[in-house]
């Protein structure tokens, strides 16, 4: 999908107008951003928005996130285990130390 984020009042207003008149391309509206379906019309509208408002418009192309394809098992398991922790006050660093779960710093270093 296309993620369109606006960074000015005027761009936001134009985006709102686009969303109103082109309901069919909008997958989701999120305040001053919107997700468009991946069609040429959506790209056309996003590009027009950028032509008009320049740097106040950011366009990104997103892909569906499949944690089983993109994320190592260790990270997935750490997330599940931490959310299942017994004491809600335990910080992750304390939770992970002395276990096989990766530390936040390790994960920070490694790209997906």
């Amino acid at each position: 999908m296309l993620l369109v984020v606006t960074y000015s009042q005027a761009a936001r207003t134009t985006l709102r107008n686009i969303c109103r008149t082109h309901d069919e391309v909008v997958a989701r509206r999120l305040g001053r951003a919107a997700l468009f379906d991946e069609t040429e019309l959506a790209a056309f509208l996003a590009l027009r928005l950028r032509e008009k408002h320049d740097e106040a418009v950011q366009i990104e192309r997103t892909e569906p996130f499949n944690e089983f394809a993109a994320v190592p098992d260790t990270v997935r398991e750490a997330a599940a285990a931490y959310e299942d922790r017994e004491s809600p006050a335990t910080p992750y660093s304390k939770f992970a130390s002395g276990t096989d779960h990766p530390s936040a710093a390790e994960m920070q270093r490694r790209e997906l």
Binding site: R28, N66, E67, F68, A69
Partner: protein, 317 residues
């Protein structure tokens, strides 16, 4: 009002005091008796508390009992009930009614749908989606592993053929055929898994759409309610302040010795005092159940509140 106690004793008048016993009647019981439909079902059998009084009108739901149901009622919440009891309508009342009806309709429909076709509908739970993603990923992994293997075998077949080793060529060839068949099966599996995932994602998206619509509606209702509360707070604020001041002087005379008299500013942060002030402003025909210690007796409470009063001990008491 006419109140009949469980033992058949009858009390009458605009102010009835149950606080000093002999009967153990809790506030909740009295409130229930006031709100009970005055039908024939409450025949004259003894054993139940019965109260003959006017039907509770608007506002009694919140102000029919002190302390009120909320532990820290806001001024707007109280004054909105006062406004309703007096038949006042906020400028957003129509809007609010419309939005609330819409929200209720949406809830009914959602309940119906979830009951009707629980089996037909795609399972869009997080667990189902996670399982679908896992299958896509697993099938994709199998597929690339087999694809690599096919490439390796193809190379081997060519190498053996170039070397003129017919037997080895044939062996490699038959292995290649087997692996290629497996590959095409896994491919089919992967495509099916992808289709299932995207179908689920579409369904999940529809679900999110309706969730978003509901959230918007709930926000709108909350905003209208806030506006209504602000309206009543502005309309009735002066009267409310005056009632609090009057309560301060009543309390001062009611507690001659002991603690210092209440300042109106202290009373404004006392939930019971605020509720009392609201009841004084409200137009309630049904009795109010008072189980707080601010008045010496039911009559004093009824006089100040300008409402009929049943005074009793705090619940269960």
């Amino acid at each position: 009002m006419r109140l009949r106690l469980p033992d058949g004793t009858v009390r009458e008048g605009p102010a009835i005091d149950l606080a000093d016993g002999p009967f153990d009647v809790g506030a909740a019981e009295v409130v229930a008796a006031i709100r009970a439909d005055d039908g024939d079902d409450g025949d004259d059998a003894t054993g139940a508390l019965r109260i003959d009084c006017p039907q509770p009108g608007p506002g009694h739901d919140r102000l029919g009992r002190i302390p009120v149901s909320k532990s820290t009622p806001s001024r707007g919440w109280l004054l909105a009930a006062v406004g309703r009891s007096r038949g006042l309508r906020s400028p957003v009342a129509d809007d609010l009614a419309r939005l609330e009806a819409k929200l209720a309709e949406r809830r009914d429909r959602a309940a119906e749908e979830s009951e009707a076709d629980e089996r037909e509908r795609a399972d869009t739970s997080a667990a189902a989606l996670r399982e679908a993603r896992r299958r896509v990923a697993a099938a994709g992994e199998d597929e690339s592993r087999l694809r690599e293997r096919v490439a390796t075998l193809r190379g081997r077949v060519n190498a053996h053929r170039d070397a003129g080793d017919d037997e080895a060529t044939e062996t490699a060839q038959s292995e290649l055929v087997a692996v290629a068949t497996e590959l095409s099966e896994v491919e089919t599996e992967r495509v099916a898994a992808e289709q299932r995932l995207s179908a689920l994602e579409r369904a999940a998206r529809t679900e999110r759409d309706s969730r978003e619509a509901r959230l918007k509606l709930e926000d709108a209702v909350k905003n209208r309610r806030r506006e209504a509360r602000a309206y009543f707070a502005a309309e009735l604020g002066d009267e409310f302040e005056a009632a609090l001041r009057s309560l301060a002087s009543v309390s001062a005379t009611a507690t001659p010795s002991g603690g210092s008299p209440d300042e109106p500013s202290d009373l404004a942060s006392d939930p019971v005092a605020c509720a009392l002030a609201a009841v004084r402003l409200a137009d309630l025909s049904a009795p109010v159940v008072v189980s707080c210690g601010r008045f010496s007796d039911a009559e004093a409470a009824a006089n100040w509140l300008d409402a009929s009063v049943v005074r009793c001990r705090p619940n269960g008491g």
